[in-house]
């Protein structure tokens, strides 16, 4: 055998720089993917409504929930990196079966609702071009189902994610609308309250669309998928924080754009057309096209991800066979759930004369109401030393997360108490 070199040669030298970069790119993804998916139909619509209804008045809410979003996402990522398991599996292993079932029901309701809102978003996008929902939705639903079950979803997902860059148009629109930057800045740091139930509804919807139950499961599942170990975790943590800031920055500009165009002229948002108008400063007549394209893009993407994530979570919790590479016979419950989670919401979204914007807002409220349920499970797990070892929450995290959960519960109690029946007050 030839004598060996005394020290590793060429390969290791070029590899030193490569190693750090490779680690970053290999683990990159979870935070940014989740962030990009956060601005779905519900997100765009809700923040547009926020801007149209209250101008800059709710910007302080956005500022407050950005660090909270970062915290909740980071907790999910940390749990995934330390345990290598998804949130549903952790819940199953830590809590009784009844409590697990309760959590899964909560997730199911929230996710079904959100999927309805995605299909509603698709319907809204098509309504911009005069295509009614009952013509547009069936082929789209079938298309999503085929895409998810037949594979190549990953490639398509990448394209969709790249296209979410379209929302940079809101940033440009926001600037072009010549907003009152001073007022915007002031409202970002000064809380203001209204005592109307509409205000609470809007605030809870804003929170519920940013910090979602499904997002909590999703970030953890993506981190587990990438096999991020706790040693490489620093990169993921940085990326998760960056993702939260990035997604909320887009929301900031959505609010500003709508505030400067719609609120300034007293136009409320009832339809997608109204929201598209916010892009007028940028795109003029092309506002429709841009808005419709962007809305369609994110809605279809989420309409694929959500049913998949929900089916996986439920099967993970109860130990059912799950996997896209398995046929109906091999994984009947998984495939059945997946199919139901795509077509049932699509059917709901096709109900004629559906007040699309109202439905989307309602769903975000449901997300907001069910969020504390999931957060409590998360907080119990993440503070359990036998699961997390030394990576349990520090006191600051706990304080932030618990306070937020309590505040949100109070808000939702007030919301439910003051709004009967809810949909009509939206």
């Amino acid at each position: 055998m030839p004598a060996a070199a005394d020290k590793p040669g060429r390969r290791s030298l070029t590899h030193i720089g490569r190693s750090r970069l490779l680690i970053f790119f290999a683990v990159m993804g979870p935070g940014l993917i989740t962030a990009a998916s956060d601005n779905d139909a519900g997100g765009i619509t809700t923040w547009s409504v926020v801007g149209a209804r209250y101008g800059y008045g709710l910007l302080w809410v956005l500022l407050l929930i950005t660090p909270i979003l970062a915290v909740t996402q980071e907790m999910g990522a940390r749990m995934g990196a330390v345990t290598g398991k998804g949130l549903a599996a952790l819940i199953r292993e830590r809590f009784s079966l009844r409590l697990t079932a309760f959590a899964m029901v909560a997730l199911l309701l929230a996710n079904l609702g959100t999927t309805v809102s995605e299909f509603t978003g698709i319907a809204a996008a098509f309504s911009l071009f005069g295509v009614p929902s009952f013509i547009a939705l069936p082929p789209i639903a079938v298309g999503v189902w085929l895409l998810v079950t037949r594979g190549s979803y990953r490639r398509v997902e990448r394209v969709f994610l790249a296209l979410t860059a379209l929302y940079a148009t809101y940033v440009i629109a926001g600037v072009l609308a010549r907003p009152d930057w001073g007022a915007a800045a002031r409202h970002t740091v000064t809380p203001s309250f209204h005592s109307t139930s509409t205000w609470i509804i809007t605030v809870v919807a804003a929170i519920g669309t940013t910090i979602t139950p499904w997002g909590q499961f999703f970030i953890q599942a993506t981190v587990v998928d990438k096999a991020v170990s706790i040693r490489d975790y620093a990169y993921t943590k940085a990326e998760v924080f960056a993702g939260a800031v990035f997604t909320d920055a887009i929301d900031f500009f959505i609010v500003i754009a709508c505030a400067a165009t719609l609120f300034a002229h007293g136009i409320a948002i009832d339809t997608a057309q109204d929201a598209a108008r916010a892009l007028r400063p940028l795109a003029g007549g092309f506002a429709y096209l841009l808005f419709g394209a962007g809305l369609l893009n994110v809605s279809v993407l989420a309409a694929g991800i959500l049913p998949l994530a929900t089916a996986y979570a439920i099967c993970e919790a109860f130990g059912f066979e799950a996997g896209l590479d398995q046929s109906f016979g091999e994984a009947p419950i998984f495939n059945g759930l997946l199919t139901f989670f795509i077509f049932a919401p699509a059917a709901v979204a096709m109900i004629p004369h559906l007040p699309l914007v109202k439905v989307i807002l309602f769903v975000q409220d449901v997300n907001g109401i069910l969020l504390p349920v999931i957060l409590i499970y998360v907080l119990k797990i993440i503070n359990d030393r036998s699961i997390m070892g030394e990576h349990v929450n520090g006191p600051v995290y706990n304080w932030v997360a618990w306070t937020f959960s309590v505040v949100l519960i109070v808000l939702t109690v007030i919301l439910v108490a003051t709004s009967v029946p809810l949909p009509f007050r939206l």
């Binding site: 060996a4 590793p8 390969r11 290598g84 079966l97 979803y153 096999a227 996986y312 130990g319 896209l324």
Partner: protein, 413 residues
Amino acid sequence: MFFFSKLLGQTVRDVQGKSAGTLQDLVVTLRQRYPNVSAMIVKRGRKRYVAPWSAVASLEESGSLLRIPAGRLSTRELQPDEILLSGQVLDKQIVDTEGRKLIRVNDIQLARTGNVLRVVAVDISSGAILRRIGLSKVSGRLSKNPKPHLIDWGNVDPRTSDAGSVRLTVPRKDLSLLHPADIAELAHELSPEERAAVLDALEDDVAADAVEEMHPSFQASLINEMADDKASELLSNMSPDDAADLLADLPPERARRLIGMMDKDDAEDVQELLTYPENSAGGIMTTEFAHVPPEATANEAIALLRRQEPEVETVYYIYVTDKREHLLGVFSLRNLLREAPGRKVREFMTADPVSVRLVAGEEEITQAIAKYNLLALPVVDDDGVLHGIITVDDAIDLVLPPVWKKRLPRIFH
């Protein structure tokens, strides 16, 4: 036969009929194929007591009776071969060695033989879940015969559950009966501790084979969690090309340290492989091949092969090299069986065999192997010195999508 979940939370009465607490768990001893219950965990208030099986008069779904008064209950530590059914098996994921996958234990079936209560099977059906949350009537309506889906306990390995500090002294052979590739695939679904526990339970060479089949990022995270001495031993047991690939993904200081701790010969091989770019023949090849001098007879070649067999990657092709390791020819095991024992190797070998250079790229390698129907392809330098071989399984990996796509990610396709 009855289900463990129905016992949980039942009242435990002592010999005087007074309530001693509730049944929180059962301790079983993993010595036989169907482990027997050795103790009962009784919970009273915040305290947990251990009632040895000899102190249990009866155990039914409606409740259990002890032979001793409640005041005489005490606690003890778990013995090395004992595990807790509720704390460590129920609701956890364990390995189904027959189905070669991970299953989640939804319930546990127990059976009584005489005085002994044994664990016989686990139930992974959805009916078990509905039963446990009290919706068994629903499952009865959904299907005529809500059957449990039982997996025989003899076919599972509970060691992958988070055993905490419980270390098993009685090794179970089951896991090592699985093919390393199956073990690797299972390992992908486990948490880091479970992965380490599985590998710990395997014998060194099986563990090394399993690690070789794992996706690089799992390999890296595994090595990250391991202490240096264990890691270097694992690397020594792996074939040098896979060890080299793994080391290349580690931080350089650690890689250097681990190489320093490996067996000297293995370290030399690995270091040589590390000098070549990852996607070249030099980076893909293994240095462990069978070789004999040209003057050896067929008989002598067999003897040499027997000696080299434990170390080499494949015995199907034997390379003929001169004293300075130039590649002169190759013959196969088939030749050895066919030729007269006294015939010299250089007479029946294939002279000037197909080979590639160290810097050859993936396309050239796979085309050569495909064109000439080779099981292995020798890799030589510009002087014709034989440095290593690329076996057909590594070549297939070049052609198929990389390993991490073979394992479909959970959320994405």
